[in-house]
Every structure is written in C-alpha cells, then in structure tokens.
C-alpha cells in the first residue's frame, strides 16, 4: 500500500513537472478579459480606440460607431453614437482635464468634442492640406494649457497644433522616414515633462517632441525583439513617465522607461486570455493596470503591471 501511494505521488509530481504551460496562460499578468464580439451593450465589434478618465471610467469606440462608457468596475454605464460612421470610425481620442472627449473622427477629417454625457459640444476641422485642415486625423492630445494636438496621415503625415479655442497654431512633420518626418502617425501622448510622444507607426518608432514641435529623441525600430516595434498604433504614459506602446504588428504592448528603454512586454499573438490579435489601443487603468483594445478578438484585456 505504501509502495503504491509512493509511486502514485511520484507520477503526479512528474506529470505536473512535465506540463508545459500554455503560453497564453500568463494568468499572473492578467486581471480580466471582458467583452466579446457583438453589437449590444458591453459587446464590441473591432474596438479600436479607448481611454480612461480621471475617475476610472473606460471609454471605448468600435466599428459600430458607438462610444461605450463603462464604470471603473467595468459595468456598462451608457453609450452614444457618432453622427456618421459609414465611411469609417475614429482611430483615436482623448479626454481633457476638464472631462471633455476629443475624438479624431478619422474619415471625416474633423475633431468632435463631446461632454461626458455624450452631448456634442463642438466640431472643428475640414478636409484639406494646410492652415489647420486635415485629411485623416488619427489621434488627439491636450496639454495642461488646453492646447490641442492632432496627428494626421493620408498625404501630409504630420502633427497639427490648435489653441484651446480651436485656432490653428502650427504644424510640423510631413511624409518621410527622416527624423521629424512621419509615415502614418497613429497616436499621441503628452507626459509630465511636457513632451509630445508620437507613434510613427509605419516607421516603427516613437518620436518625442517638445510642445512646439522641436524634435527631442526617438526610439524603436522594426522588429520583434524587446526595444523593437512593429506598427505602434497607440501610446500611454503613466505617472512615473513610463511609456506603454500598443504594437498592432507584434500583437503586444511594450513598456518603456521615460528615456525609451524597453522594460516589459505584455501579450503575444493569439486568441487565448493574455494573447492579442491586432490590438489598436492601450490606456492606463488604475494604479497598476493597463487596458488593451484587443481589436481582432473583439474584446478588452486588462494586464496587471508587475
């Protein structure tokens, strides 16, 4: 009997040791996966843009033209629909310090401004090449003075700056691969050092400017290794200045230090929890979590930061 029990225990131990954990089962990194494919409340159809406000409410825009808002406990709060989305849906937006939602209505060449009740307050921008006109705006950022920064691609591939009164201030960039030029800038973020970070997606890098458009530095090159990027589509900055870049091409989120050193990787290509499928968006969620728009899997994933 004793011998039998010993052998049985030994077999169990060996079996456990031989079990190769599913790469997707990185449950230590995952807090939760929420949402699934669908068009009703709490469900998503290719969610591409998300943000979290100062109260922890989560805002998500997907291809159905809805802006869904969730409480910090991820329960559904309310939603509203964009005025038009037949040509396409926004790829980025931000929430200003005074809780206004600035949405880059990409295929309508404009910025929509909503209050947090879903009421449209203002709209500015039109199709064009200069003087504050834009073709495909991809994201919006607001600095502490209320100035508005818009990233744009489609011909001009640049950054446009507006005052808080929506008046055109300046623009910089242009299509290209050189320093200060862009190929499909997809996202913006402003850190506490008043630096503007730009996801230069088709150049597979992040460029850093001051708020007047002067180039400071850049990091990233095409690849899959830590420190390398592939189609960075979204960017967020935490209180310590750490940078989180959502990589559409590598199906992951990469964390960088303020000076661009790779610190961590979250996720990998796949459909299991902990895996991502062509993600488009990332945002800070609480003190130690990030929320990722897992676009191809029609859901959100929350990673714990360790």
């Amino acid at each position: 009997m004793k011998r039998f029990a010993f052998i049985l225990t030994l077999c169990i131990l060996i079996g456990t040791a031989c079990h190769k954990p599913n790469p997707g089962d990185k449950r230590a990194d995952i807090v939760t996966v929420f949402g699934s494919a669908g068009t009703t409340d709490g469900k998503f159809s290719a969610p591409r843009a998300l943000e979290v406000d100062s109260e922890g409410n989560v805002y998500i825009i997907d291809k159905t033209g809805r802006v869904q808002v969730f409480n910090r406990d991820l329960s559904f709060k309310y939603s509203f629909v964009l005025p038009d989305y037949s040509k396409g849906t926004p790829t980025g937006f931000c929430i200003s310090p005074d809780n206004q939602i600035f949405i880059a209505d990409t295929h309508y060449s404009r910025i929509l401004v909503y209050d947090t009740n879903g009421n449209l307050i203002h709209s500015f921008g039109q199709y064009g090449d200069s003087g504050g006109k834009m073709i495909y705006p991809t994201d919006v950022a607001i600095d502490k003075d209320g100035n508005i920064y818009v990233s744009e691609y489609g011909k001009n591939d640049r950054i446009i700056k507006f005052s808080k009164d929506y008046v055109f201030v300046k623009e910089w960039g242009g299509a290209g691969t050189e320093q200060g030029k862009f190929q499909r800038p997809m996202a913006l973020a402003i850190d506490r050092r008043a630096r503007l970070l730009v996801c230069d997606s088709c150049n597979h890098r992040v460029q850093v400017f001051d708020l007047d458009g002067n180039f400071i530095t850049s990091f990233g090159s095409v690849g899959k290794a830590p420190g390398e990027l592939k189609y960075p589509y979204d960017i967020s900055v935490d209180a310590e200045g750490n940078i989180y870049v959502c990589e559409y091409g590598n199906c992951r989120v990469q964390k960088f230090s303020p000076d661009g050193k790779s610190l961590a990787l979250f996720g990998e290509a796949g459909r299991n929890p902990g895996q991502l499928n062509a993600p488009w968006g990332v945002a800070l969620f609480g003190d130690n979590r990030i929320i990722v728009a897992d676009t191809g899997n029609n859901r959100m994933e929350i990673f714990r930061l360790e």
């Binding site: 396409g88 295929h107 495909y136 499909r184 199906c251 290509a269 796949g270 499928n277």
Partner: protein, 967 residues
Amino acid sequence: MTVYFTNPWVLLLMITLIPLVVLTARSLIGISGFRKCVIMIFRSLLFLLLVCALAGLKLAHKSDELAVFFLLDVSKSIPRHKIQEAIDWINEVSKTMKQNDSAGLVVFGSEPSIEKNPVKKFSIKQIQSQVDDNRTDIASALRLCLAAFPEHTQKKIVLITDGNENVGNALDSAYMAKSNKTPILVKLISITAKQDVRIEKMVAPQSSVKDAPFDLKVFLSTQYDTRAKLRIFKDDELILDKTVPVADGKKNLYTVRVTLPDAGFHRFKALIEAPNDTIADNNIAYSFTYVKDIPNVLFVEGNPIDQTLLPPLLSQEKIHIDLIEPSNFPESLNALISYDCIVLSNVAMDKLTFRQMEIIEKAVHNLGIGLVVIGGDQAYGPGGYQDTPLESALPVSMEVTQRKVLPNGALVIILHTCEIPQGNSWAREITLAALRVLSRKDYFGVLYYGAMGGEQWLFKPTLCTNKAKLISLIKNVVPQDMPTFDTTLRMAYNELMKLNTYVKHIVIISDGDPATPNSELIKKISKAKITISTVVINPHSQRDANVMGAIAKLGKGNFYYPKDYNKLPRIFTKEAMVIRKSAIFEKPFLPQYVSYSDILAGFSSGEFPQLLGYVSTTPKDTAVVPLIALNEDPLLAMWRYGLGKAIAFTSDATSRWAQHWIQWDKFDKFWAQVIRWAIRETAGGNYMVSTSTEGETTRIVLDALDNNGYFINYLQPHATIVDPEFQTYELELTQISPGKYATEFKTTTPGNYMMSINVGEKDKPRIIIGGISVSYSPEFNDSHSNERLLQEIARSSGGAMITPETNIFLHNPPTVWQPQDIWQYLVAFAVILLLFDIFVRRVVFGWAEVKEAYMAVAAQFAKIKLLIQTRRRVPATVQTTSTLLKRRKELWEKRQLKEQTTSELLKKLKGIEPEPDEDIVAQPSEPAVKKKEKLPVSPEVASSAPETQDETHIQKLLDAKKRRKKR
C-alpha cells in the same frame, strides 16, 4: 409504474442459479456454517442482479408529456394572408400549452422542412424555411413529422392546409400515423376562389415547314361567365389581340392560324386578362415550333474596331447570320436553340459570364449546336479560356505542352479587402478567378496582412501544377487591415525577381487607405518590367482612389474603380490574362496542310496564304488537325463534342493577322465550309414529336416515318432534356408500336424544357429539337379546398377536424410509457455485494465475534452520546480538576476565614481559644461545587481518565463533610 425486460430471454440464465448454489456450498470448505450461509446469500443475490441487468430490466413511467407538431401548408395555392392567419392562430393556441407540453412547426410545399423542433416555449414570428411551393405534398410532410417526434411522449399532429395535394398520397401517411398512435387534427384553409379565368394549355406542332400554315390552339377555362382579352405572341411579336367570351362549364377553345416564314425555333406566348380574375399566375402559357430551312448562325463579334468581314460573306453563302456583340449574348439555353451554330470571333472570357459559357457548352454537347471559335489576341489562352466550359467544348487545350521552352508568367495578388462588406469572401472569389486563368506553367502568389503575423504570403509565387492545393489555401484566407503598401510591394518585388518568367505582374486590391508606397520603390519595380495594376473598392475618399490610380500609372498597369462588386471576378480574370499573353506568336508563317479533312475539300496544300500571327494551343487527343502553324501548333482543329461539333481556328479573320487571307479569293469558301461542317445535323425523313403533361409527368412520343411514309422501326432514340434549372436528363425512348417511340420524365418545375432527340448513331447523330413548356404550377389548377380529403385524413389517423371548441393540447392521445434504465444500479449493487462476499470469505468470525463487535460499536456510540450530553449540561467554562481544586481551596480559605472570625468573636466574647477542627484541617471544607446529578459513567471511562482519581478524592471530601454534619 411498471417493470419490464428488454431481453427477457436472458432470464433463462436463472436456471443455473441452483447449480451455482450447490457448487458454492461445496467450494466453501473450512468455512463455518454462518459464514457459508452469508456467502451463499451474497453470491445468489449478486448473480440475480447481474442476470436482471443483462436482461435489461427497466422501470416504465407513464409519460405525461405531449408533443404537438403543427404542419403548415405554404404552397402557392394558399394565399399569403391565409398563411399569416394560420401563424397567428398557432401562436394563440400555443398559449394553452401546459408545463410538460412541447410544440414544433413543419412547413411544406412540394417538400417539407422543420421550421422549429418541439420546444416548451413555442412561438413563431416569421417563417424562415425556404421550400419549393410549386406543389403540395402532404404525405411527405406527415412522414417527416412522424420521424421527428421526440421519443416517449404523447404525440399529436395539427395539419393546416387546403387539402389540394398534387404529389403523393396523404391517406397512406394518415394510416401510418394511426399505427404510430399519432392522431391528426386538421384545420381547413378555405380558399374558394369564386372568380378565376385561366389558360389550360396552348398546343402547337413541334415542327413545321416554312410558309406552311398550322393551327395554334388555346384552351381556356373559367369559374364564371365573362369576356376576356386574349393575346398571342410569336417570338415576342403580337399576332393576336382579341376579346373573346368564356363561359363556365363549357369548352373554351380558340384557334389561331399561324404561318412561319422564317426558319428556326419559334416561341409562342398566350396571355389572358379578365375582369375580376382573382388568380393571375395561371393566365399565361407557352409553346414552341421549329421550322427547318437554311442554317441559322449566331455570330458573336469580339473585335470592337477591326471587325471580321465574315458575316456579310457568309450571308451570301446561304447561311443566315445573326450578328451580336458579346454583351448581348443570350442568358438562357432556350434562346440559343433556334441556332444551328455559334461563332465566337476573338471573344475574351471576361466578356462572357461563366454561366454563358456553360450555356454554350451545353448547347453543343446536349443540343447538337455547332461551335466555331476564331482566334485573336483576346481568344484562347490570352482570352482566359483556361479551365472554362468553353475550353471543355473546344478541340484544343490552352496548355502549351509541346514546347521545351515555354513562355510563362508570374502573377502576385496583394489583398486588402477587409473594409468592404463581405470583403474576405470577395478576396477569395477574385483570387480563384485569377487562378482559373493561369496555366500549370505559370507562377501565382498571394500576399496579405494576417491577423497574427503581419504582412505574409498566403503562398509565395508557386507553379500552378497543383491548383487544388492552392484553392484550399485561398479558401481560408482572411485578410486584415494593412497599414502600408510598402512592405507587401517590397515582398512581391523580391520574390518576383527570383523568377525567370516572360511576364511578371502584380495586382493590388484595396480601399486605398494604407500608407502610400514609396514612389522610388514603384519605379524600381517598373524598371524590372514588373507591371502593377490596382483595383480600388469602397475608398474612404477620392484621395484614396487617386493614390491607387497613381500606383497603377507608375506601375504601367490598369486602374479599376468598380462600383459593382460583381465585376471584381471579371477584372481579376482579365488581369490574369495578362500572364497568358505569352501564348501569342506574331510572326508571319504559311499554314501547312497536314491531313485531309472534308472541311478542306477543294483546297490543296500550299494554296493557303500567309498569316501574321496566331495563339499557341495544344490539340486534344481525339481532335483532327488538318492545318498547323509554327512549331506544329494547331491552326485549324475540330472534333465531335457530345451531339455537336466544335472547330478551333487559332489565327484571326481580321486585318491584324489575316490581311492576306481577306484578299484571298477562297476566303469566303473556306469559312462557309468550316461553318457548314460545324452546323447541327438534323434528322431527315418525317419525324413528329408530341408531348403531353399530366400532373408532374410529361410524356414524349416520337413518330418516325421515312420519306416513303413507312414506319421506321428498331431505332434507339436518345433524348436530352435541359430543364429550367439547367439540369440535364438523358432518356431513352422505347418503341411502343410500329414507328412509335415514347418516354416519360418529371416536370416539377414550371418553365421551358429544351429537348433534343438523336435518332441516329452516337457518332453520327441526327437531331430533332423541340421544347416543352410547363406554364404554371399545378397549384393553380384547383380553386377550391379539398375538404373531403382532409376529413378522410382526420378519420384515418384517429383524429378530427378542428372546431373552435377543440383543445389542441388536451392529453388524450394513447398512453406512452417512458422507460428508465436501472441496469447501472443493479451492477453497482452487485459490486458492493462482491466486496462483502470477499470480506466474509477472508475475515474469520463467528457469532461471538459478531456480538463482541456489536458491543464494541455500541460502547463507542454510548461514549459519544455521553460526551455530547456532558457538554450540554456543563457550563461553557470547562470544569477541569485543577479548576475544581482551586475553587475548593478558595472556599476552604473563605470558610476558614469565616470560622476564624467567628471563633475570634466567640473568643472575644468568651475569652476562649477555639479548638481546631480536625475534620476541617484534615478535610478542608467541601469545594464550592454546585450540586449536580451523578452521571452514569462506564467503568472504562471511570478507570481511564485521570480525572477519575480526583473525583474519588472529591467524593471522599464530600463524605467527610457529611459525616461532620452528622456529628
């Protein structure tokens, strides 16, 4: 509840129980009587349990569940609003369902379909099932219901119909329902049409002679007397427009005398319009007549500018020519039947739909119509004939196999279709369309942006030798959003540069949203002689379309901006044809006459003028090739294909390649002979074909007479029928009397059936063509419900006609028992008994041991009970011995103090020293323990616990106290 066995014969094994008991008794040597008895009982029980399990012992409970199937007739004879009323009634009645009831729905026309399986919460909003509604087959619907009922429930069918079945026999199914204990309740849909005028049929001779008059007969029927407007069309030309009286109950026959001056197939259409006519579907009828004369040829000209001169020349050769552009090619087979030959002159595949090519192939193979394909830069391989029905009909293959050095091409498609509706489905379709055109010597590759891996090859440029494998890969492609064109173009360029092919081509399909590619990259690609075409679909803005246009311009390719996605496959076919341009040879050559053929009677070798180009092809095995071009490539090839004949001429008949031929004095003779050779071979003599339709069966009768009027016997006529849905039937006609042959087939679908009857040999056919028209569904033959049939169905099945008082969900069908398997419990008990059996055999014990064991167990229970009771009575604070002693000491000290105080008082009072109380010193005062009941304690408990000694000591103290009190 009742009990039964599914395999009762297994119970015969019980017979072996007695020998088993005897054997058991003998084998248990050395075992005491008691144990032996127990073992034998256990084994007998075990055996009985196993036998019962094997015999399939079941418990049967009476089932109180009722399942009802609603059977709804949705055929054309039921007005649509009646169907909706029936659905509303079903929903209303379903509200009376009880908890254990379930309901389902079957809809039927000529075939049944389960709309909803029986469910407990039943409701229907809209019928989703699609069934053919041209017939009513109640019988098959009833059979489906009977098979679909859940097991072990009471069953009931509710049939909702007008009773006008025209297929099957519902009564047979009703009897079947009764044997299945399934009554049928019938709800009649009343459809009395009080006013209906219809055309029963229109009769015309199958064939006629040019300019010979014949009678066209139209039979009318009506429910009421009225005057109706009768119109008759010949080939869409109105030949009669007359108001005629029609009377109820009378024969309404109208005859029109018709003369046909033109040869060919003629279609007649009759229309009737009457005031207050409630049914329009039965107001139209068709018929056909064939008039034989000079050959009738359909000439399809694919050269938009430099058109061939053939049509006028052929007309002079007594060949009637109908000249059309490819865009006007007929869409149906019956439109082609009047032609004896079809000529395609330099017609590219993208000018015809795949369906039209199928029609051409069927016209040649099944109806004996001839086919002549004249070449050019848009025909054969360059025209995309590869793997099409057209290639099947031709005597040449598009594969160029006889060369050592073969011109080939490489095509890469870049897919970005995820942004359009059904984009991924279109991606597959266009890729397949391109693959179909390519030959086995061509390379094909597909690039896209994948969900997990970014830009990737579905497959790199690969020879199309295994198209099936490539097709399986293409069917699984799911392109995602592409960030930029740069990466995929670069990948395509790198792979194409590794290949040594004659032509290299890239096609991009996208909405134009990805980042614009580097112009230097496109220039580099173009410099490497790789062309780029673009197709933009659903662009976000004109800017995106402009980007795509610019890429195509720089890439020296074509730019497409289709608004209709259905054109996409043709676009990609055309783009893939670019690869096949390598099959064109534009060099002067003299045709060589290599083998005699009737087609070239009167021509001699060396008299054919020079040609300036041709398309390279490969002759098929059984093709005859009398003329060849360079490298022994076929110039003129022909063969028999089914009932028809097909000819391929790989050069053209225009000034591009045939400028010397056009000036040749035998140019028209050559082409007249070519076309006459291909023309359909019709039967001579006197053949009369008649058809008659009864229900869904059509009978064909052939009367065969020779030119002298004698019967032609021992023929083996073979009919080929093409139905309205393009299905082909092959039928043999059997001789039923001298010179008369007949066959039958089903005509269930309304429409025109094309027919060709071969009265000759297979390799020398003589064809009679004709047509059968089934004007409208027999659903419109009956204008009243068939209540009598429905009553009979209800009676035969043990059901009833539904009245307003009928309770559909009344539990009155025959009792159904619901069996429950219990073999698993029997086996489980048997296993337990086995364990006990082993225990009893292994463990030696007798009554004394049993009694001892019983006592031990009883003592344990008593101890546990005592413990429980003790804990209930004793306060929460555990009264341990130390606590008692401590308490006793306190009380003793207190008493001592009290007595000392008393004695001191006494001493003060009396001046007397109190005497120590020996008892008290030796035996301190009793502990202040509350009086408690003496609990029964077992000797073992009393002796084992350390507290027992203390209790003895305490008892002694108590005794001492008592004694002192007594003093």
